[in-house]
């Protein structure tokens, strides 16, 4: 009897595990909230600012490249890899709804690109500033009035 119960149980658990796996899709605000909770835990937390994010995005930080070197000054536009010329789809979710929906992808690119642009990981504060900047961009490149 116990075997009859446990087999479907195991199958269900396996399928449930598979079902949630492929893309752990989240909304941009869920991802932002998780960055926010890390930022709040850090000393000197000051809330996120789109203006600070924009400034961060457009300026260099000691290395040759800024974020804008590949993503352009307008994250709603199509970018180009600064070295290979490979087309980079827009970063702003308003122009490219796939952006900021996969936490693993967000983490992967922050890690890589912060290493390239700053030579270190970005703090949750920096990530949050950039995210609110990106999430506030309208398709034509302006900002939402919040």
């Amino acid at each position: 009897m116990s075997r009859l119960i446990s087999i479907p149980g195991i199958l269900f658990a396996a399928f449930a595990g598979l079902a949630v796996q492929p893309a752990v899709a989240e909304t941009p605000s869920q991802i932002l909230a998780s960055v926010e909770s890390s930022a709040k835990a850090a000393p000197g937390s000051k809330g996120f600012s789109a203006a600070r994010g924009e400034q961060f995005f457009r300026t260099t930080h000691g290395n040759d490249w800024s974020c804008a070197s590949c993503h352009t000054d307008n994250p709603a536009a199509t970018g180009k890899h600064a070295k290979t010329n490979k087309v980079i789809q827009p970063l702003a979710p308003s122009a490219n709804p796939e952006r900021v929906t996969d936490p693993a992808k967000v983490a992967k690119w922050f890690k890589r690109n912060c290493n390239d642009v700053l030579g270190r990981v970005c703090t949750p504060q920096e990530q949050g500033d950039v995210l609110v900047y990106l999430l506030g961009i309208k398709k034509w490149g302006g900002h939402h009035v919040v």
Partner: protein, 164 residues
């Protein structure tokens, strides 16, 4: 608990994919590097390698080069291209399986730049310096600048269009 599912799923997926790749027959033109259409493909390789440059066909380098490349992704020609371990494993296996089987020039260190292989220099010897320097090309890593079907693995002569 969720994390356990996730890691075991990834492991399962990696093993399943590896198994799948191993069962693919050798009915491709692996050893022919002279610009034929590449038929081998792998979704992870395409997505990950292909996000910054054309996903270069595995047959363009020998297995030891791919091994060296994949073990240094955090410093990939000056950029951080690091991957999560399961993705790295899967892509490495794919690259090594379909790597060039030719006798490559024996160098102390495995060649990492496709552009430094004898094959590449020979195939591109007629390409003028001005073409490489064209801002639309930017350099030899940008295959798709001239090989207009490079994204789909097609490097055939008829699909070459040098930008002006």
């Amino acid at each position: 608990m969720l994390f356990d599912y996730r890691s075991s799923f990834l492991l399962f997926a990696a093993v399943a994919l590896l198994g799948g790749m191993m069962s693919v027959a050798h009915a491709d033109d692996d050893d022919d590097e002279s610009g034929h259409k590449s038929v081998v493909s792998n979704a992870k390789w395409q997505a990950e390698c292909g996000s910054c440059h054309v996903a270069f066909p595995p047959r363009l380098l020998p297995a030891e080069s791919w091994r060296a490349m994949m073990s240094g992704l955090d410093k990939h020609f000056g950029n951080d291209a690091s991957l999560e371990a399961p993705d790295e494993l899967e892509i490495s296996a794919f690259l090594e399986k379909h790597a060039s089987k030719r006798k490559h020039e024996s160098t102390a260190k495995p060649l990492l730049r496709i552009t430094e292989t004898r094959w590449f220099t020979r195939e591109h010897r007629e390409v003028a310096e001005s073409v490489w320097n064209n801002p639309k090309v930017k350099g030899p890593a940008n295959c798709a600048a001239c090989h207009i079907q490079a994204e789909s693995g097609d490097y055939r002569e008829r699909n070459i269009k040098v930008p002006r």
